[in-house]
């Protein structure tokens, strides 16, 4: 599937750093990833692995002290080289962002409907106010927000409803790519499932590409086509979800999947140690200090992603090509 459709998103050799008082932290270090139209890719990893930074860097919304190298193509255009105004236009029309806490993105003093009118008319100045309101109602209705609530204020909604509103707002202009960063982490499990099924429907009905950033492997298994596993700023494994969950190749993926506690868990497992300090990452493979399969080469050279089998790639010296 990913080879036929042209990629809606193509990230090539991206490096993202932050200047901190203690020095420069490279939070994302040489990441390459593509997403096809209608494809959902899960980006998973634990706190501090760089997954959120990567998502923000792709759409160019990093804090001041961040810097980005590498190439991002959205719909075939070099996004990083575009003027600021054009990038702003594309955020909304071609890319939607959905974050964990919708309240930080909604203006508490603005009626829900007016958020839509503002967004729509900022991008499409020829749309009348009434037409924009109609579009808002349709978009909200598709997310299960009844028309009786469109002129309420954000605080009058529950957490799950706010997230639905955020998604409706993100997709009202029919973008081709949605980047969702922990969109359900603040929600309870039933509401989480409601939101995930909405994202799935959207992907299928509008052929949207979806980058789902999460720490929750279960969510990725159930909603994504492919999964990329990040560790200490690098993608260590990427492949079809069925392959990666059935037979993880990278020792980190293996350890992470084993440590998951799910309904069929019969014994506990964990990965010894802790992720490295990215101010001074260890030489070679960054997982080597915690790896049960560590070899001398692992601390001498940096492994690169290479195909292990059937499109499943891992960055690990256990496999030829790394």
């Amino acid at each position: 599937m990913r080879t036929q459709a042209p990629p809606i998103l193509s990230v090539h050799d991206m490096r993202v750093g932050y200047r901190t008082p203690r020095g420069v932290v490279i939070a994302v270090d040489g990441v390459t990833i593509e997403i096809a139209e209608g494809e959902a890719v899960g980006l998973v990893g634990e706190s501090g692995c760089g997954k959120t930074t990567l998502g923000r860097a792709i759409v160019g919304v990093l804090p001041e002290e961040g810097f980005v190298e590498g190439r991002v193509e959205i719909g075939g255009r070099d996004f990083t080289a575009l003027p600021r105004d054009e990038r702003r236009r594309m955020r909304g029309e071609e890319i939607a962002l959905v974050f964990q806490e919708p309240m930080t993105r909604l203006n508490p003093l603005m009626r829900v409907e007016d958020h839509f009118v503002e967004t729509i008319r900022a991008h499409k100045s020829d749309v009348t106010k009434d037409e924009a309101k109609r579009m808002a109602r349709e978009a909200l209705k598709a997310m299960g927000i009844p028309p009786t609530r469109v002129s309420s204020y954000p605080h009058e909604f529950s957490g799950g409803m706010r997230q639905r509103i955020m998604i409706a707002l993100g997709i009202v202009l029919r973008p081709k790519l949605v980047i969702a960063d922990e969109p359900t982490t603040a929600l309870d499990v039933i509401v989480e499932a409601q939101i995930l099924s909405i994202l799935e429907d959207l992907k299928d009905s509008y052929d949207m590409g979806l980058l789902l950033i999460t720490h929750n492997l279960g969510i990725v298994a159930q909603t994504c086509d492919r999964v990329a596993v990040m560790y200490a700023g690098k993608i260590v494994e990427i492949g079809d979800v069925r392959d990666v969950f059935a037979e993880p190749k990278h020792p980190y993926t293996q350890g992470l999947l084993r440590s998951l506690i799910h309904l069929d868990t019969t014994e506990l497992s964990s990965i010894p140690g802790a992720p490295p300090d990215l101010l001074r990452p260890p030489p070679g493979c960054r997982f080597a200090p915690r790896c049960p399969h560590r070899m001398p080469v692992c601390t001498e050279r940096v492994p690169v992603l290479a195909e292990v089998e059937g499109g499943q790639e891992a960055a690990c010296f256990l496999y030829p090509g790394s």
Partner: protein
Amino acid sequence: MTDPPIVRVVDLETHFMVRESFADRLFGRSRGVVHAVDGVSLEIGRGEVFGLVGESGSGKTTLGRTILKLAEPTSGRVEFEGTDITRWDEDAMRPLRRKMQVVFQDPNASLNPAMRIVDAVGHPLKIHGIETSRRGLRIAVGDILDRVGLSPPDPFLDKYPDDLSGGQKQRVAIARALITNPSFVVLDEPVAMLDMSVRARVLELLLSLKRDFSLTYLFITHDLATAKFLCDRIAIMYLGKVAEIGPAAPIYADPKHPYTQALLGAIPQPDPSRRVPPTLPKGEIPDAVSPPAGCRFHPRCVAAIGTCGWEPRDLVDRIEDRWGRLGLDDFERERAVIGELSAIRLQADELVIVAGGRADDAKAIIEDVVREAPALGGAVESIAAASGSVIVRFRHPTEPPLRQVGGRDVACVLY
């Protein structure tokens, strides 16, 4: 359970007055009383891991805090080791605090960042006058740090919380809870903030400490998978009440309450052949200020029937649902007949829509709504149009009691 329970809770209620926000005062809203825990009875046997499972807003944390007397019970009874402590004040509780301890979710919030580890962990010993000498404290704290896996302990003693990782901080919080040699520990989401790869290590530690120190745990969590692994018995809570309670094994093997079934079905599993379940409860856990009548889960339940406790405001929600499905033109037409939903008058078992000359149109719409919601329809006694109003009468709702079904207790009219 032949031994007497270590904790017994009988018909416990913990209600809070809602503190009104500035906006509430500005708009003259009164927020009322939160029914956080609303009639819970349970027993925790010595040596058990008892799981209190529920979503946010279920009252699980408040119940845990009430058992510890960190929240004041409104009515009912709390017994600890056979003694009724319901009305004990803080002075009376102080000696008991050695024996009942708590570990919270967020070690960053429960550890003072300006306090060295030796002082933080040794603090309870000082308070209870068990050990006051500097040297004695260092030895005692060193011992307990060693037991929680922070070994060798010496390098940790003079560190500050910020010098430690999340997993290490939670171990410090566990050490502080155990240093007084308690018999009962409330664990409130103790691993929820930790990364997956270290969670298991903390859970293993908790299990081994339980054996070594002969502890009883009340494990409070939203995570059914972890509860399944850890707990001997569980109670599933929803909006201040117990929906299902009993030994963990039969509940997980064959959940009876539709809420338990929904929760278990919604947990994302690391299995790509499973998809998000097609039928999910609608909406979210409602406000505990005015919980639904009857079974509190009924407005969201996919298995609901006529006797679940339907009430007039449920009909208003169904009208709103219908309007959400209709095209915008049909919606506007029906709203012109029914009027604003906020203008619908709700009485005890009765709903009144003032529709003026269009009462018959309004009645027809309401009949459609009721037809579309057969479970709710089962509770409607009559729909009548008279002198410009539509009056819908409901059967009086009753609350399902806990009944024994298949080796556990379930509060659901289906059984």
